[in-house]
């Protein structure tokens, strides 16, 4: 075989580059053609449910996607190009809703996706399994950066304590046993609540026809010395379950409002105060009460409970606040914010002693 001259080599290199470029362009064009005429849903730049505007945008997007995919049975395209900021609660809600819609939709209905421009967002969404859920390939490399690698995700449908390992296992030996234990208890209580109460009736969006998706989802993120742990169910919400499960507490609440109708946030607050036992001793309550007390009081944390239109927040100083939004999330989100300090083995024991 004849050896190529320098001129010939250069020509071959340029030619193969052109061929590769054309292949890549054709591949993208093919994808663009596939999605060109599909209904496109543009995901907002910031996923956030704590402000009315961004909450409204996200919830309406989810509602529209649900209508197209489940009722109209249309293939769609979810455009994540503009997404830049992911708040843990809103991110979990988004992935939970998509997960539910994928279970409810007809198998022939396809959900396509335009990947985010932001590399970090791509890495986080890949880490928490969104692209896998959508069946979308994302070739971005995994990252060991702190703001990426500490996103964790898990989902289930029963009280599966072992699934907390996805989140808590990562922190074994790095946070105090007391914190680890309290989080475990909080998360398993949340799973139990979801399993026993959340799905007592079909969800108000009327998408549950043949089946009801009775799942829970959870996510954690660590950032700037704080651990955020979020738990979500897409049930009927605390404002609907309280009157059914605790009629006497409901009556007391109605009487205290002198005939007025309580906002969702007030109902959530009432639910956190419920203790099944008559002892009235500190930390002896069940479910929501235990979640609030053990995490906030004992671990200097903050808890936010979003359910339907309401939000109730309380912190370790006993300060609480409530807010009601225009749009309902049609479910319940519990977000714990806990200060953590990663410890070396040397001072792990002393911190353990401090927190227990």
């Amino acid at each position: 075989m004849k050896k190529l001259s320098l001129k010939q080599k250069t020509h071959q290199l340029r030619r193969s580059k052109k061929i590769n470029k054309r292949k890549f362009r054709n591949k993208n064009n093919k994808k663009e053609k596939e999605t060109q005429y599909l209904p496109e849903f543009i995901v907002p730049q910031t996923l956030n449910i704590s402000k009315n505007n961004s909450r409204k945008n996200l919830l309406r997007l989810i509602k529209d996607i649900g209508e197209h995919v489940v009722i109209l049975k249309n293939d769609i395209c979810i455009n994540l190009k503009n997404v830049e900021q992911l708040r843990p609660s809103a991110t979990l809600l988004f992935i939970s809703e998509l997960s539910r819609l994928i279970k409810l939709k007809d198998k022939k209905v396809k959900i396509h996706c335009v990947l985010p421009k932001s590399r970090k967002v791509k890495q986080v969404l890949k880490k928490i399994g969104l692209f896998k859920l959508l069946g979308e390939k994302c070739n971005v490399a995994n990252s060991l950066a702190d703001n990426i690698q500490y996103w964790q995700f898990a989902t289930g449908s029963e009280t599966e304590g072992e699934k907390t390992e996805a989140i808590l296992g990562k922190y074994d030996g790095q946070i105090t046993e007391a914190l680890n234990s309290k989080l475990y208890v909080g998360l398993t209580e949340a799973m139990l609540n979801a399993h026993q109460h959340a799905y007592m009736e079909p969800r108000s969006d009327n998408l549950d026809k043949a089946i009801t998706v009775k799942s829970w989802w959870m996510l954690s993120q660590e950032k700037d010395g704080f651990l955020y742990v979020v738990f979500c169910d897409l049930g009927i919400g605390i404002p609907e379950t309280l009157p059914m499960k605790h009629p006497s507490a409901w009556q007391r609440l109605l009487l205290s409002l002198l005939g007025g109708s309580p906002n969702d946030s007030i109902i959530i607050k009432e639910a956190t105060a419920l203790k099944k036992t008559s002892t009235n001793k500190k930390g002896r309550g069940h479910g929501l009460n235990q979640m609030v007390n053990s995490i906030t009081n004992e671990l200097n944390g903050i808890i936010r409970i979003y359910s339907n239109k309401g939000m109730f927040r309380t912190d370790f100083n006993g300060k609480s606040s409530m807010e009601d939004f225009v749009e309902s999330i049609n479910g319940t989100l519990i977000e714990w914010t806990i200060p953590i300090t990663r410890q070396s083995e040397d001072n792990y024991e002393s911190i353990n002693h401090k927190h227990s």
Binding site: V185, T188, T279, R284, G287
Partner: protein, 71 residues
Amino acid sequence: MEPLLNNQRTVIIFDGARGYGSSFLEEAFGGLVRLGFNKAKILETFEFVSDNDPALVSELIDYIDDAESEG
């Protein structure tokens, strides 16, 4: 429940697990009262060991007491 039915002294060791939700403890031990076993019988049958969290034992005894008072 089997140890109660068979009058078999049994030690329950709580150490080694990540934690126990109040709902679980109440159902497990308050539930025994609801099944017809009284506190004396339960405490006679079971020895509870929780070195990592001693408060857990008093908590579950409270659930037994509460279940008895509700019954």
